[in-house]
Symmetry: C2
Subunit: 457 residues, 2 copies
């Protein structure tokens, strides 16, 4: 019997035990944002350590940060020729408010109609335990086919404020071939999918300053430059009439889509009608020459997220504003870099802002885009694993959003992340009655078993 077969058999006969372990983990109210739960945070970290120690993982440790600690543990017995996978997860969960809207107590997990209801079930204790149980299934009688490094943080739900520093300080320890980010989901219970690409982010606040203070628009209107008009002009100039972004060199690093991939994207169920329904808009728009799916996933964007100048209350005030502010974010695609985008934006502003207006740009957040080559062993291993378990081909998805952790890992460790998790779109993440599909918990374990073995081939 192959080690894969043995692991699958062990997983199959251990279903009840595995579910009970998940329930145990879900009972720990590890809410990272509430200081009164700090002891629970530690208990959750210790439970993870106990699991890894059971496997005799190396360097198992609760590593301190300036906030909640990070749980680390590694396995290197697959040898230097086998790939090393950094498995990213988090053990913290969201608060439970509004508590009245829960049908069961959020930290007393309840299985109903094939789902397990508890805070953190889908986001993401279910997937953390699924991966641990895949590892355990192998180790019951064999070695693992790949090397593993667990990086399980306790601050994802509060924006991972200490993760980048931790990555930098432990770059050698975390050295790996790629990252498996299990904080993800599939399109439907019976629609296996995996996200192989995320957009990055370059998000800025732009402030323009004109007159020292607000002026009367009757007395001074026409004579002086109005920063409210100028901010409109500069934002408008950022795109041409075809929706192309006009920052200098903005597209230089953009990887153009291959025809084959465009065909593949066109076959997704995300039609133009679907986008209209999802966004509740009567008409779509954007960069000319690309479908809505392409524009939302593999093309970069430039969006106003916030805009302010002058008097915005009810009624009229004849004010000529002293300043204007815009929050502008750009979603980035491979191989764009936020720092280059910032420089390009500054060059653009320099050119477009007239004398009499001063300006500054503040970076609000940034993240590198990331992608796993669809033809790579990683993507193929994941796809085959999903097909083995679901008996149907997986949908390969590009995500339009940004996972900051993925950007940090790319930036510091230089590796891309494969998003392979088993949440569902209706799992009520961050909301009352969060749930995780029990059968997908088990299928997730099987998928990780297949995935590890596929990778090793």
């Amino acid at each position: 019997m192959s080690s894969r077969q043995a692991a699958l058999e062990f997983a199959n006969k251990s279903k009840q035990d595995f579910l009970e372990d998940l329930i145990h983990f879900l009972k720990i109210p590890s809410i990272s944002t509430l200081p009164e739960h700090n002891p629970d945070m530690l208990e959750a970290a210790q439970w993870l350590v106990s699991q890894m120690e059971k496997f005799q993982f190396k360097d198992v440790n609760i590593m301190p940060t300036d906030g909640h600690p990070i749980v680390y543990g590694s396995y290197d017995k697959a040898g230097k020729s086998a790939p090393t996978v950094l498995v990213y997860g988090h053990y913290d969960v969201q608060p439970v408010d509004p508590i009245d809207e829960w049908d069961n107590e959020p930290f007393k997990p309840q299985v109903r109609d094939g789902d397990i209801y508890a805070r953190g079930a889908s986001d993401m204790k279910g997937q953390v335990v699924a991966h641990l149980k895949a590892v355990e299934s192998y180790l019951d009688s064999y070695d693992l086919p790949v090397n593993i490094k667990y990086l399980i943080e306790g601050e994802e739900e509060i924006g991972s404020p200490n993760l980048e520093k931790f990555l930098s300080q432990n770059e050698d320890l975390l050295h790996c071939d790629f990252c498996l980010n299990a904080d993800s989901g599939i399109l439907g219970v019976d629609t296996p999918s995996l996200a192989y690409s995320l957009r990055g982010l370059a998000y800025f606040e732009i402030n323009l300053h004109g007159p020292e203070s607000d002026l009367h628009s009757g007395t001074f209107g026409g004579a002086v430059i109005n920063p409210g008009n100028v901010i409109a002009q500069v934002i408008a100039a950022m795109k041409d009439e075809n929706g192309r972004i006009m920052l200098p060199g903005f597209y230089d690093d953009v990887v153009e889509l291959a025809a084959a991939e465009r065909e593949q994207l066109a076959q997704l169920p995300q039609t133009e009608e679907w986008w209209k329904e999802q966004s509740n808009t009567s008409a779509l728009g954007g960069e000319f020459g690309y479908t809505a799916t392409e524009r939302a996933t593999i093309r970069p964007t430039l969006d106003v997220n916030g805009l302010y100048s002058g008097f915005i209350g009810k009624g009229s005030k004849t004010v000529l504003p002293a300043k204007a502010m815009a929050k502008i974010s750009m979603r980035l695609v491979p191989n764009q870099e936020p720092e280059k985008v910032r420089q390009s934006l500054e060059t653009f502003m320099d050119k477009h802002i007239p004398a009499g207006i001063t300006w500054e740009i503040d970076e609000l957040s940034s993240a590198l885009p990331g992608t796993i080559d669809l033809d790579s062993a990683i993507a193929k291993s994941a796809g085959e694993a999903l097909r083995s378990v679901w008996n149907k081909s997986a949908i390969y998805k590009r995500e339009g959003g940004t996972v900051p952790v993925v950007g940090m890992i790319k930036k510091v460790l230089g590796v891309d992340s494969l998003m392979l998790g088993f949440g569902l779109p209706d799992d009520n993440l961050h909301a009352p009655n969060e749930k995780f599909h029990v059968n997908n918990f088990h299928r997730g374990i099987e998928t990780y078993i297949h995935f590890m073995d596929n990778l090793a081939k």
Copy 2:
């Protein structure tokens, strides 16, 4: 002795009496915005009535409105061949807060260093009394050289909410050749000036609606149209690179400046440096081909007064906003009309707003521009009157601002207004220690005496 000479002599010997009458009027705390002062409002109106009755004016009346009443009185003995002047003023004053910052009680007038300190001294009881005393000076021994209709309202400081209706309901009663608006000032104690032109106003709020609700800019960015970007584009499109306003037909009704008037404007002390200092800006800008003074007075404008979309708090939120709002005002010059501007704006929006975005425009306020021909008898009569009193030429000013009352009178009665009053830029209007220059009160009386006689010639 001519009637003018007799009136001037009477005014000269009555200086103390006239000042005492002003002081009496200033003691009445006619604050229109505070209901507890309603009896004072009536007392002020009654005092005006008593003055006009002393002159045996016709139809002297406290005419009701839905708010504070309007004092009316007319004189028609100059005959049908003489001009009829509608003299506009107001008997209400601003509140006195912050009371602690006054050096004397605001309704106990005090003369110090040549100024009379009291709430309403400059805005505008001083000028109302000055005109009444000019009339009284004639009537002591002669008839008036012109016909007069007094229109003295009690709601100017609260925006004249009932004036337009009153004008419409009394169109025949108020029929006149032009309006003398005494709610005005001169550039300096020894710098006589008069404003012969005001800009109008067309002020709109524009609302754009995109998706039904805010969307995640990662998931939907690029696929859907962002109203925050669109509002920037449409505002930017409203002007070309030379600062010309691109609303269709916007300049069709704009009266171009004659070379002689441009030369006259160029001689005003309002240099480019002066505008920079006054506006506290490092550089000016606006419509190409015109000076700052021209741009601020006799050229129309299009200014953003308010701008809003999405998230404008601290930090970042990756929101794709559902809507965007702009408050846009246009200062109008002869012979532009707010209603035509509105139609032009709607045509422009229709053309520039893409499918997927709905929009509406609300008018926040509007006023017709007004001007008195510099070559007219009215302007010349006023200029000569000022020169006779100050022994120097008056500066003819165009004002960039809008006086709503002037727009209403133009709209309903069809006549323009000459702004001829004697306030000073540092009179602390609407502020503590409001004052009026006593000597200018007397010079104002003399000026009105000359003006009436000049008009009759």
